[in-house]
């Protein structure tokens, strides 16, 4: 158990490194929008979703209706339906209680790291849970710290803004297990870019990944029928 926790923590550091400046800037914005520390803490604990928290802070500051805020949050986080479905392959017959706890910490970043580690093998669900909560703790602490610190932190120090992008690039490389995965990644990138330019919000993530996975699957089945070895 101790070694599971240790491996979870050591896998979590790029996420924590990336979350820290983002959480800080969220706190700074929230403080300007009239949030007090306990409100920031309540939001980061109860919601724990970066993108929608930024938008909610702006909407609350701008006096938007609660219904509009909740609807927006729902739309932004719908992409987690896909991630949760994909992760379910790695939890056959695991208790509902564990899964309910695990699901709380499901973010883009924890999904990406957990999925990669599960595929590599040598990764237990307890390591995954540790990773989720390390990321969550970092998020709560940094966003509340942001409320206290205000504008003291210089933006863009030492390239931390690139930490999550760098991590995603590396995890993408880990996922490229055969030609069909590369093919799917290229389609997804092109589709995401087009959808990003033409669709509002972050619908591009769901639209592009569903489309690319579908085209990838069709391609894979087609190649299997023709007996290709590139699968």
């Amino acid at each position: 158990m101790v070694s599971n926790i240790r491996s979870g923590l050591s896998a979590a550091w790029p996420i924590c490194l990336g979350y820290f400046p983002i959480g800080l800037s969220l706190g700074v914005l929230a403080q300007k929008g009239g949030f007090v520390p306990w409100q920031m803490a309540a939001m980061s604990i109860l919601v724990f979703a970066g993108g929608s928290q930024f938008i909610a802070v702006a909407m609350i500051g701008g006096g938007a209706s609660p219904l509009a805020i909740v609807t927006t949050t729902f739309m932004i986080n719908l992409r987690h339906l896909l991630m949760s479905s994909a992760l379910s392959l790695h939890f056959p017959g695991v208790s509902r209680r564990f899964l309910s706890l695990f699901a709380y910490g499901l973010t883009d970043e924890s999904f990406a790291v957990n999925m990669t580690r599960f595929n590599q093998g040598n990764w237990s669900r307890y390591s995954g849970l540790t990773l989720n909560h390390a990321a969550n703790t970092t998020w709560i602490v940094s966003s509340v710290a942001g409320v206290y610190l205000g504008q003291l932190v210089p933006p863009g120090a030492a390239g931390v803004d690139f930490a999550l992008t760098g991590m995603f690039i590396c995890l993408l490389v880990f996922q490229l297990r055969s030609a069909i995965f590369i093919f799917t990644a290229v389609i997804a990138a092109a589709a995401a870019l087009l959808a990003y330019l033409w669709l509002p919000g972050n619908a591009y993530v769901v639209v592009a990944s569903c489309l690319a996975a579908t085209i990838g699957l069709i391609m894979k089945r087609h190649m299997r029928k023709r007996g290709s070895a590139y699968e």
């Binding site: 939001m43 949760s84 992760l87 379910s88 899964l99 992008t165 330019l197």
Partner: protein, 109 residues
Amino acid sequence: MSDRDFLLLMLAMGTVTYLPRMLPLVLLSRRTLPGWFAEWLELIPVAILSALIAPTLFAHSDPRLFTLGKVELLAALPTLLCALKTRSLAGTVIVGMFCYWVLGLMIPR
């Protein structure tokens, strides 16, 4: 907004965030998925990662415009090479941050 209203709003936001994260995990992990669906789900992670990265590298965010001139894209090349060569997450993140930082100093935005 009163403290009570604020907490209620957070609870509502938390609920609509949590349910999409929880329901598929709890409902799907207990049954055998049809073959095509499991194969489709296997391709989802690579597709999501690629979809998350692409606009960061190839588009400005406000307004949303295609571009090939972002520091992120330049920094992504050595980052990608490092990931392919070393297959080390830690090393890649550090190399990426360093390149992004140095390129940002050299190329004023």
